[in-house]
Symmetry: C2
Subunit: 331 residues, 2 copies
């Protein structure tokens, strides 16, 4: 059995609505077991009504939600019975839990993962990775996409390594790495970028050089390494450009009629799912003892299904061991 823990509280939608994603994920993978954190009574009733085999899940009663207004350091002490803190603690204490999923407050999830779950090694910092779908249909991982805003060049090398371990866990052999910069040439970039470029060359990684924002969706790379600030700008801006044109398609479709209109609106919906990284997928926090998958606050049951798929794959393929190997830590 592949066991993961899923926190259903703290998102915009109700736990009952999001539970649908868990049920679908259990149908999809017969070797999946889910610890579900939320209101036991509500969730068990619904799982029973859907005829889900009780051997495939355990509901852990934690009806208290964490909100975006909660102070991260404070709630770790004061809200130990909340679904998020209980989930992180379960991931720490239960060796069988391979990954933790939550759509709750990002800040609290990051801090509690670092403070409770703890880094893989004392010297290791966390990184937040996310994926885009390239134009050729393959995926590319952005590491860091927002966890480390001010960081030295050697940390960017560690983001590249974690990104590689992540892509290996997803089946990519010898992942190709590129470094975000304002130009493709090695001498382009801030002092930080130039230093990271030099370090990546000596890192033993499959480093192919710099990449510009203009080519991320047509790149040969599997991993884009960058500091978390630039990565966050890239992630959000890419989505902005894509979704703006999708809105233009919808505006144009509104001037049409009947089948022609329907076909274009359905194209727009399909494209939205492809480019709306934020609400459709999730970011993964690496560098802590288990991968923590953060879904968007606006997550739907479909989002939950999609991020449980990620959690399942990462747990099944031992991402944590792959990261340890990348950093020469004992596995």
């Amino acid at each position: 059995m592949i066991k993961i823990a899923v926190d259903l509280l703290g998102a915009d939608r109700s736990e009952l609505e999001l539970l649908g994603g868990v049920i679908d994920a259990l149908k999809e993978n017969s070797d999946l077991f889910v610890y579900i954190l939320g209101t036991k009574e509500i969730l068990e009733k619904e799982l029973d009504a859907n005829g889900v085999n009780p051997d495939r899940f355990e509901v852990i009663d934690a009806p208290e939600a964490i909100s975006n207004n909660d102070n991260p350091m404070e709630v770790i002490r004061t809200k130990q019975n909340s679904s998020m803190i209980k989930g992180v603690t379960l991931a720490r204490d239960n060796d069988e839990v391979g990954a933790f999923v939550s759509c709750g407050a990002t800040g609290v999830l990051m801090v509690s993962s670092m403070m409770i779950l703890k880094p893989l090694s004392p010297a290791m910092g966390p990184v937040l990775v996310c994926e885009f779908i390239k134009r050729n249909g393959k995926r590319i991982c952005l590491s860091d996409c927002g966890a480390n805003l001010d960081c030295p060049a050697d940390r960017i090398v560690s983001f590249a390594k974690m990104g590689c371990a992540y892509m290996k866990a997803k089946g990519v052999e010898n992942p190709k790495v590129r470094l975000l910069s304002n130009g493709a040439e090695d001498n382009k970039g801030t002092n930080l970028v130039k230093e990271a470029n030099a370090l990546l060359k000596e890192s033993g990684l499959n480093f192919l050089g710099n990449i510009e924002g203009s080519t991320v969706l047509e790149s040969d790379a599997d991993v884009i390494a960058t500091d978390g600030y630039s990565g966050n700008v890239l992630l959000k801006t890419l989505e902005c450009g894509a979704t703006s044109v999708i809105k233009d398609i919808r505006d144009y479709a509104d001037t049409l009629e009947n089948e022609e209109k329907e076909k274009l609106l359905s194209l727009a919906d399909k494209l939205y799912k492809r480019y709306d990284y934020n609400t459709q997928g999730g970011a993964v926090l690496l560098g802590v003892k288990k991968p923590v998958i953060k879904g968007h606050g606006a997550a739907t049951a479909e989002t939950i299904l999609s991020i449980i798929r990620v959690a399942y794959t990462l747990a099944k393929n031992n991402l944590t061991d792959k990261i340890k190997k990348e950093f020469n830590l004992a596995t």
Copy 2:
């Protein structure tokens, strides 16, 4: 007469092809005069063949082009007769020249503008601004989009000021400024961003707070201030996201037939012009004694027309005086 200087060499296309943009611009504005830098014989013949009034232009013979492989500091000494260096020198020496336009090598254009044309004041650095079209059809200016990669927070305030002067020259009263960050709240961002946020609040500018990459096309702002590295990532990534969806529209159109296909392909072309900031428009170098407009190397005659329009507007509305006023310099 509004006088500007246009360098037609150093781009991918021939000077003869690009000249079409100059001719169209002269037709569009009856009070425009253009100093054209390139091969005198070729250009004068074509201008004559098109019946352009010789009182509206002067061709300055400078048949030598600058290439991307040229070392900026070196060519300033060795290629003084090249179209670019001659154009920058003309902009310096001829008081009547209000702006300089070139699609040649960016590095050489930046360095020669700084070294020959010189900064507006000894303490002032240059900034590269560009514009996007927001979803409401209004324009927003990004300052800096690539000139200053490593810079302190007070320089970001000066980028904001130059962006405001630029938008004022384009008719916007009391431009609204936002600062690029990874979150909308004041406490979000790198140390640099947080410091710039605090300085912008005290700057006397119409500062509205931070902006994320996700909302740049739906923002209430007229100016986005940022360091040149993040600005460059934003500019290129926005274009990447938008053009990728435009390619998807074309791919989909290819599965259709007849009128339905043609209509969609024409939508894609229209959108491409709106979002392809790079080849359609130009970036403007500010902080030097005259605005220098840099068109993309892949510029067409249409691009030349579009960037001459920018140069014409900035010269006509005395952008340089507006910048001086923003920085309390004598005008």
